[in-house]
Amino acid sequence: MNGRRQYDTDELAQLARQVCEHAQGSEQIEVCVSTGRSTTVRAYNGDVESLRSGHSAAIGVRVITDGRQGFASAGSLDDDVVADTLAAARRNVMFGEPDPHQGLAEPDDVLPPGLDLSDPAVLSVSDADKIAAAIDLERRCLSADPRISGVRVAAWSDGWSQSALASSTGICVQSEHGSCSVGAQPLATDGDETQIGYAGDAAWRPDELDVDRVVTESTSLATGQLGASKPPSERVAVVLAPPVAAAFIGVVASVLAADSVLKGRSPFADRVGEQIADERLHLVDDPTDPTTLGAANFDGEGLAARRNALISAGVLRGFLHNAYTARRSDTASTGSAVRGTRSLPGVGTHAPVVATGDIAADMLYASIEKGVLVRGVSGLHSGVNPTSGDFSVGAWGHRISGGELSEPFREATIASTLQRMLLGIGGIGATAERLAGGMSMPPLVVADIALSGV
């Protein structure tokens, strides 16, 4: 019983391997263990509002016996908890039902990208510096524009985590890294009207955080919405600003995960090799680019993370797989298992990237007689049905008329289907914008979307 014990990643790996050694007969065991610490500072009215910090530890144990799977997890690495978690996972196996494709990942011959992601820079930031960063962020938002009346949230967060994953099939990997982030929600006021903006950034190192962008983007989103009105209902061309484009691309990538395909829940099942998007669209999942927070050496089952093309020139190249979906599809894992310590590995993207197109930034609206620039969406979780592909989400931003940006709009929705939207891409910006976490995304132009307002 010693919750205060400190582990280094070698010791975590050793702990994970030791638990795996309990595998008996045909039993397979996979163990993921992690420790972490984090700090979050919020500033308000020029002072620290709160500082929250803590340590955490976690273990997740997956046991597979004769195609039956059980999982258990706990928030501690105490000896008795580790033993209890293994016992609980084994008990859970008893109620699982056999699936011939079930099984842990087997080591393949793909080499990991060999990224050095364990930059210790965040460890050298003192609490005083974190507080100063949050207070400075609030101050800069307040002074960015005279209409900024307050900042609901100005926050700094950082964390450091260590993890190891081992399995009875011979996998043993470990990782250690830090990250930090800032975020602001400024309020803009004009008379009785108040608008709120949001922007944030996250990076491996404090000096990689683009605080200038966070201040500019969050305050301009708030002030830009002042005076916004409800637009008429009509079919229009839509320009998706890079953060919104990223949100939609994230949804598209999720329905290209093989688990939803295998279970008949993806509108793109049976479409490999077909044109599912405009030929200008190229989408890859690339965890090998170390500048993004999606970078990784290994996936959630300990296989090498790798670059996977999903859509090339509009043609669906394939789906993302973990070990289970690959076995069931008679193919190889694409290294796309994603998981937390406390959950079973699913399938998903690490770092989706859309190739830039050919529309110069100053020509983005030029060919649009009637349309909208969507700067923000709401209700993505309730308004997109990833099975049918239908989507209808709240939208706000600026109207476009005669090839130029005009007044702001709000209280509207944009609706279509993911299938129609991909085929309706009418252009891609030539310049990608760096988003939170280092992801790059160009703006997307989509024709013929239903805008609902008045």
Partner: protein, 496 residues
């Protein structure tokens, strides 16, 4: 931006069942989560380090879930979490430290860490400690602890649901049934003399179906969850739940595109409480009000809704999904009338915001877990009955949309603009419900929608359980309303 979504077995928590087969009776005689002498010493350490006020929040959470997919048990998960968060305030500054190390030393270290933050500038004075005790233990308010029920019975429920869904209609091609249970025990003590405990047990089952037809794939989902134990299934038959989910998916195969633009909208009882959660609930949270991030700031005493609209947040409303004996700051939950006959009467309060206003908390201080700071949150939020027969509301609507079931929603509290998803809706033509509509979001402006309610039914019902997300923390909430009509909401469909 804050949102509500249907809870899944994941958001219910992924924690572990006990390793020994303990019974409810054995649990009740257990020790407090943290020995009271240790609680006392920890709080004293926080004050000795300069804090003005200190709080200890201890949590022990266990949960289990079963996922039944493609006709077989696919996942069997369990999880366990235990930890303590120490909060120390000095003036306007709050320090918070959390740890899973429950030893006296671990807690003292956390107390000093939290105090060091709060007392950067201030050297606080000692406050007289109350003598702790008495309320440090709580009994689960359930008939049968879910963890005491054999796993094979849980699997049998899911299998029955799967069978029922598949036999409802040949178009049903996929069924996922999930069972989730959680038990959360908390102990809260602070230097103002609060010492309270609660034992919160929740049980949930949900069924999601996919139907395939000429028009592609459609989905239907039903969830039942309450702050109760295994007795949930005395009143709720998983097979009936599954049939409803299956019928919803099949019905939507024939759905036509929803209208686009402003439309009169009738919302079925229990199906649209989330509208009020989003349209005004978040805007009545005192933390948002205090920072000027709510359109309802400075409006107490004003007419903010149509006459007849009374909005209540009630954490005592067992066995609803958002029910609690105490909030996560140790204050008893209560029934808070927020809007009375259209007039704004009060906001919801946590300890910090009520301290600043010199008033008592309303029992709305909640947190996701011991690693989180509490803030103002809703519990069970609902609009009370009007006096119109719901059939008359529909008959009195020449053309519009009838929403039988809503999905999640999201609100921008600064403007009051909110969206929520229609997961089952129909066209109303000449006062009659006619064709099913495809899914879409509705968007409206909270203050305007409250004034635009022009018919309130007499058939109040609570809706499905929800998980409310705010600033990255998810907590269980309930909502409800009678059948009602909003004069105009923007329906985000694709039909011209």
């Amino acid at each position: 931006m804050h949102h509500v979504s249907a809870p899944t077995s994941e958001t219910l928590g992924s924690f572990m069942t006990r390793t020994s087969d303990t019974t409810a009776a054995a649990e009740i005689t257990a020790e407090p989560l943290v020995n009271l002498d240790v609680v006392d010493a920890t709080l004293r350490a926080a004050l000795d380090a300069g804090g003005e006020w200190a709080e200890l929040f201890a949590e022990d959470r266990e949960s289990a879930s079963v996922v039944f997919d493609e006709g077989r048990v696919e996942e069997m998960n369990s999880g366990r979490d235990r930890g303590v968060g120490i909060r120390v305030t000095a003036g306007e500054v709050t320090g918070y430290a959390h740890t899973s190390d429950l030893s006296a030393q671990g807690l003292a270290d956390a107390a000093r860490t939290a105090a060091a933050v709060a007392t950067r500038q201030l050297r606080g004075g000692m406050v007289d400690m109350m003598s702790l005790g008495g309320a440090a233990l709580a009994e689960p308010r359930v008939a049968v602890l879910p963890a005491s029920v054999g796993t094979e019975r849980k699997v049998a429920l899911l299998r029955a649901a799967d069978d029922a869904a598949r036999s409802t209609h040949e178009a049903i091609t996929q069924v996922t049934a999930r069972y989730g249970e959680s038990r959360r025990r908390i102990l809260v003590a602070n230097t103002h003399g609060v010492c309270a405990a609660d034992d919160q047990v929740r049980t949930l089952i949900s069924v999601s179906c996919v139907a395939s037809g000429d028009g592609g794939l459609q989905t239907g989902r039903e969830t039942v969850g309450y702050t109760v134990g295994w007795e949930l299934f005395d009143d709720h038959d998983p097979a009936e739940l599954a049939e409803r989910a299956a019928r919803r998916a099949v019905t939507k195969l024939a759905a036509r595109p929803a209208p686009s633009g402003e439309v009169p909208v009738v919302i079925a009882r229990g199906g649209g409480g989330v509208l009020f959660h989003e349209a005004c609930g978040h805007g009545l949270e005192a933390d948002l009000v205090r920072k000027g991030a709510s359109v309802f700031a400075d409006r107490v005493g004003e007419q903010v809704a149509a006459a007849g609209v009374t909005l209540v947040d009630d954490g005592t409303m067992g066995p609803e999904w958002g029910a609690l004996a105490i909030d996560d700051e140790g204050h008893p939950t209560q029934r808070n009338e927020l809007i009375s006959d259209g007039v704004l009467t009060d906001y919801m309060w946590d300890w910090l915001r009520s301290r600043d206003e010199g008033r008592v908390p309303s029992g709305n201080g909640r947190r996701q877990s011991y690693t989180h700071l509490p803030m103002v949150r809703m519990t069970n939020t609902f609009v009370t009955n009007g006096d119109i027969d719901p059939a008359d509301i529909i008959a009195d609507t020449p053309w519009g949309v009838y929403v039988a079931h809503l999905g999640g929603g999201q609100v921008n509290t600064a403007t009051g603009d909110f969206v929520f998803g229609m997961t089952e809706s129909y066209l109303i033509e000449d006062g009659v419900i006619t064709e099913p509509l495809r899914e879409g979001n509705l968007i409206g402006n909270g203050p305007q929608v409250l004034l635009d309610i022009d018919a309130l039914g007499n058939d109040f019902a609570m809706g499905s359980p929800g998980t409310c997300g705010k600033d990255g923390q998810g907590v269980p909430v309930g909502d409800g309303q009678p059948t009602l009509r909003v004069r105009a909401l923007t329906v985000g469909g694709t039909a011209a």
